[in-house]
């Protein structure tokens, strides 16, 4: 599994596939401020991307891979609330 959930922190690691969209969504549906750490993420399916965009986690740590970060972060930061975007 490329998704690892530790309480309010969701770690996305390696290649996240379409199957992982549902567990991710379920984790982010729980009330409270969520933090999503993508540092070790190497690639993600569109489904994961849109769950992140829709759920707007309070804090989003971008992937270490600059190419991937450049691809998805502008979009995710646009759709994040002000607090998330600033973080």
């Amino acid at each position: 599994m490329a998704i690892r959930i530790a309480r309010k922190i969701v770690h996305l690691e390696g290649r996240c596939t379409v199957e992982e969209a549902l567990p991710l969504l379920e984790a982010l549906r729980k009330p409270g401020a969520h933090k999503v750490v993508m540092t070790k993420c190497e690639g993600l399916h569109t489904a994961i991307l849109q769950v992140l965009a829709a759920a707007r986690p309070a804090t989003l740590v971008p992937p270490a891979d600059p190419a991937l970060a450049g691809l998805i972060m502008p979009f995710l930061q646009d759709s994040s609330p002000a607090s998330g975007g600033a973080a």
Binding site: L25, R29, T46, L49, V51, I72, F75
Partner: protein
Amino acid sequence: MSNLLLARFIPEARELLQISASGLLKLERNPSDETAVNEVFRAVHTIKGSSGLFDAGALTRLVHAAEDLLGEVRSDALRIDSALVDMLLDSLDQVGQWIDELERRDALPADADAVAHRMAAQLRRRLGSQDGEAAGAPADGAQREAEPAPADAVATLPPALLARLPASACLAAFRRACGGEAVHLVCYAPEPGCFFNGTDPLQAIRQVPGALALDIAAAEPWGTLEDLDPYQCNLHFALLTEAPRAEIELAMRYELDRTTIAPVRPRDLVRIAGEPSDGPIWDDFRETASAFLAAGRYDELRKAVAALRSVAGPTLWRRQALDWLDAALSAPEPDPALAAALVAAAGSGRLDPPPGGPLPTAQAPASQPASQAADPRRDLAHSVLASQHRSLERAGYDAERLASVGTVVENVLLSLGRDADRAAIQAAFAAAREARSVAPVLSALAAVLAGAPLQRPEAARALPETDLQEFATEVAPGPAIGGKEPEARIAAKSLKVDQAKIDLLMNLIGELVVSKNALPFLAKRAEETYASREMSREIKEQYAVIDRLAQEMQGTIMQVRMLPVAEIFDRFPRLVRDLARKLGKRIDLVLEGEDTAADKTIIEALGDPLLHIVRNSLDHGIEAPDERRAAGKSATARILLRARQEADSVVIEVQDNGRGIDPARIRGAAVAKGVVAQEEADRLSDQEAINLIYRPGFSTAAEISDLSGRGVGMDVVLTTVEKLGGQVSVSSRLGEGTTTRLALPLSMAVTRIMIVEAAGSLYGVPMDMIVETVRVPRERIRRIKKAETFVLRETIIPLLRLSRLLYLPEQPRGEADAAVLVCQVGGRRVGLIIDNFREGMDVILKPLEGVLTGIDGYAGTTLLGDGRVLLVLDLRELL
């Protein structure tokens, strides 16, 4: 595997891959072999066609690229060479791996798309480079010329997209756009349900080369998280790329119906930021520049711009406008409207809204009605039709290609809602098939492309889902037009059956053979117990009939299980070719007797040992070309793989004319590796020394190569073959070559045994170990010290008592002579003293299982006709 179609596709695809690979090898030897080209093309074409049914887009794409390349080869537009064959073989290997993966996991690996794209691009480069040479222009340019971007379809840039692009990159793109290399905007709106057919839109759009900036946006505003369906794609993508249109279409070829590609007007790229400034210098510049511009004196204008740029501060808004102007002017023939707008901007300090200036690729007819300008589908349809026209023109008449072109064209027209044109095109295709010429289709296509404007009723504006479905259903029967049906009918004569069913049938027949053996016992009882000789005779008569039928059934089921050795031989041409190229050796592989058949288990188990032997030959046996020439041999070595049937065994020989095995070297190596002691090595004859290579832990390669010599030496070959009840022998002459001979039983299913009596019990002895049976008078048994022997035709044969070997109490028998079974065990003859001989019989041997596995000396058990269990001895372990 859940999918029945997939289950059928996988073996078929493997077979086709095998056909393609061997065809390619044929082609490499003889590039003008038309049968081989057609064979390979057909095989690859079929794989492509069938793979389209499954969620394996990457596979289809790669095979498609290979097919295109082969199509060129077939039409003599491309010459086949070793590098090309390598590339194609690599691609086929990749496809083979994916097929394995599909079988294992029902899906392709995650990186398949990327790999497919890379390999397909490599293949297409080959295609492109030759095209380029033919046209006498760089490939890129040729393609762009061939596919003029219609000028009226202009992209509207989403503002967010430009913001994503760093100013410097934007300026560079602008400069290129002004120079005529259009920057394209790719808008991709994936189908909401696309995740279910395995599409990953993000991955797809990332495949587009030359990306400058990507903008992702939600198609519908996000609702509450509770209502969100993560499997409905709600994202739209907009990508700015500097790749030419053809490359974009290639990358997005499976999503083209959801994608629009349009060139971006350079004017739309202009983005100026900076501090405001003022001064007379700007007004002066505006005046002189406008004058130069009006007179068309671009050189002087360029100088004026350069002069002002060198003095103005780089952070100023107007100075940046000059940078853009400079870029616009860098084109050999600058666009006056664009230059004027920028001159005005630099002069006034603000950029006026675009006047709608012409585009870089301004060759399109200006008479197009403006209402169609914004419809990207027109432009897509135009390019698709144009490319079909081109490919038809190039390929000439070919029923299969014609059929697929027909499907594409019809679908394009269908989606445009042009029924009249469709009818005309259909008629043209029918005429083409009849005349076996592409001319009618070409002229019809040209008419559609040039004459009639491509318009469509408003009703079809949003490409309806039903259209897409029609597209899918129309594609499916498409290939059938190409005259494929008769082929399918011929193929239907053979039947593919699951091996498990055959095995079950064989087991049942085995049981039948065993139960049939009970009838003679019954006959005996009828006579002895019930004193009915009549009944006994009738039973015996019936037995004879059943016996004959059972044997015929057994023979037939064996035939079913028989496979030709070609099954394993077929992989060697490819293997030998690859290894030979890697090692820089020249090898001519000759296969003989591929039709020789043997049981499936034997054939399958033989693959690995044979592979090992051939690799050994290649690696150690065959010398490098120079060395061979020095030794007075031809530079090309020869490896002969020969199979033939000898009595009831199949013999396979691997013969090479390499350097042969040097017994002295083997002795040295064996001693050095501690396989044998020095004294023992000295005592060995040359042949015995050569046999040392079968000892575990022996490997002569001085250094480990990636071919052989990994420590798993020839002993693996020996154990595998002996497990199958076969024998291995090597003969070698130094400097002349080596021959390895494998002899294996034709079938393992039924073993012929002889039943013997010892210590009051019955035992079975495999017939293939028995040399003869003799009765030896007691007085002829001589004792040499403690060992008993007797002389059989002037040879001393050692005698052993079976009851002693089995630790059973001996029962002294008063007979005058002893029953002796002369057996051949491990190359030596041994006489076994038993109590009595009984009949021979065919049995199905069941190995010892469970807690009995560890007991030595028994090969297995079988059932006797009267229901008793018979233990079959394994003399190798016993002696």
